[in-house]
Subunit: 348 residues, 2 copies
């Protein structure tokens, strides 16, 4: 595993800043040696430091993944807000199996919790930027997990929270399907317990993994209506290869596995002795929890159930056949629906 795979390059993902965290104690009791948190920012922090938005990214993503939601004239306007895209461990830019040296290289990389990411991001927000309150924390999927973790762990710092298509505590169903994704990669003998020569050696495992995503990632009606035609594919198989396989194939197998392990162990109740009601009850942020219709990963019913336990929370449903991937904004309708939510939330 080269220290910098092609995929995780600034050429692909733009310039990153890095926070040096030193030997970073993990929730597990292990220590991540010489830890680094990558991040990006857009806009300028105001003198009063009262215009900061934190936008952590999803599983498989990088700090660049969420930049497309930001732009002049849009609700997340960099002329108005200072928008921070923090990385997370195992994303290929921050400390990750793909870029860490022995004794924590590749398959030896320690398991990380969502809480570890958020503690590292907290270092960034407080020590690098001196921010004491975030106007908004928002994220999608695993970014929603991080959003909830922020709102529970540092309630006084989070004014508004908008988790999209994610939960505060991973459901058992979520747990078993994410594990099945990890196992799809691990099923490739070339994975070799994480000690492969180069990422592309594990292409069979990555393809198997892409296949499992193609099934659970969208919904029946998406495939029936051949919505993939709208983004230029000519056949189902072209879509499966050109969209799903193409998305995952350049990535590092271990990075995906370590992020997935983190995803399925996400649980804000670890902050209150496994009492979820108590953990969610701590939230003081105004929460707008958004579900996507037809989402098989985070069914709306799972999100509704958590919303009922949060003191000041509202629920929104976005209708789209892109299901969990509504956040990809593959059409103007989805983009507008999400922008409208940001507009609404930031206006109060």
């Amino acid at each position: 595993m080269g220290l910098q795979d092609n995929h995780y390059s600034e050429e692909n993902h733009g310039h990153h800043e890095y926070l040096d965290l030193g030997d970073f104690p993990l929730i597990s009791g292990e220590v991540l040696l010489n830890a680094k948190l990558a991040y990006k920012t857009l806009g300028a922090l105001s003198d009063k430091k009262d215009n900061a938005i934190l936008f952590p990214h999803m599983w498989s993503g990088t700090s660049a993944s969420m930049e497309s939601f930001v732009g002049p004239g849009r609700p997340l306007d960099p002329d108005k807000y200072f928008i921070i895209f923090p990385g997370q461990f195992a994303n290929g830019f921050s400390s990750s199996p793909s870029n860490t040296k022995a004794p924590q290289d590749a398959g030896n990389f320690p398991n990380i919790m969502i809480g570890d990411d958020v503690i590292a991001q907290h270092e960034l927000i407080t020590k690098v930027f001196g921010i004491s309150e975030l106007q908004l924390v928002t994220g999608w999927s695993m970014g929603a997990e991080q959003t909830y973790e922020w709102a529970v762990r540092y309630p006084s710092m989070v004014k508004r929270a908008v988790p999209f298509a994610g939960t505060a505590k991973t459901t058992p169903h979520d747990y078993i399907f994410v594990r099945s994704h990890e196992n799809a990669i691990k099923s490739d003998p070339a994975w070799a317990e994480g000690f492969y020569g180069k990422a592309t050696d594990v292409h069979v495992g990555l393809r198997r993994h892409a296949e499992t995503w193609s099934v659970m990632g969208l919904c029946s009606e998406f495939y029936k209506q051949e919505i993939w035609r709208e983004i230029g594919f000519g056949s189902l198989d072209e879509f499966l290869v050109g969209f799903w396989e193409a998305y995952f194939k350049p990535m590092d197998p271990n990075n995906l596995i370590w992020m997935a392990w983190k995803w399925r162990h996400g649980d804000v109740s670890l902050n209150s002795k496994n009492n979820l009601d108590e953990a969610l009850g701590r939230i003081t942020a105004k929460v707008t929890a958004v579900a996507f219709a037809n989402d098989m990963f985070f069914p709306p019913s799972d999100i509704v159930e958590e919303v009922s336990k949060i003191p000041n929370a509202e629920y929104r449903l976005v209708e789209s056949l892109w299901a969990h991937f509504t956040m990809f904004c593959m059409n103007e309708k989805d983009k507008k629906a999400i922008d409208d939510i940001f507009t609404e939330v930031l206006s109060t």
Copy 2:
């Protein structure tokens, strides 16, 4: 592959009868050599031959799988009806990869269509029993596919049809997830293109396959409410191993793969030049199409859509957290819901 694996024994599945079909021409143009259709019956055919019910089984099942729905005092009463449980090709009793000799043994077994099964079953019904009208054709999942195929292919022979949790034409989503199940087994190098020594050599592939079923086969709320406790399991992992792995582990990998191929190619519109509306429009049976809530394989919306194209069809939804596996009748409520549907349908 022994000609008779332990799993596919009369000790496990009761006594079967066999119809010898000779060299049986398949829809594909191939010929299945020395073909056999296994079947079971309960009750006695009336002199007028007007009390016959046909109950084909689901993917992975055998003619014994549906016997539990029949009993004195229940709607499918063998004192009143003559109930035929036809096999299907690749079920381990009828001609299958596991019991067929060279040149069609194991990985050389030809692909079969749902229409081939139904043509073979038609031979049984007409030539062995001399029946010209079936009071009811009913089946679950792939058994529903066969039910629809019967109603389209032989409309005048089917008085009532009750397909449970299945579609007349496999949806593209259904197609890709069933293929992913096949691939989970094939991913095991021990599968060896179908030419393994014995079925248990492929246990890793069968376990991977069981994992994919555990994810898609039930629903989030099932796992959240730990419904597996109701059937005696003490932990999630016990359930995954003791239910899902235990179900599939004794089966023949090729039989599962060949039945799955058949499943995902199910399509009644092949009877009318790919015109689904025309095919469904041919149905003269009174159809009661039943969906199971939370079913990720055959979402209620897919079933509703087909019902709207059938001249004389009604739709029923059974609410259960057992999702696609509501048909397993793991509790009295599910059993009663299904029995009530049979009672209602047979009373008209």
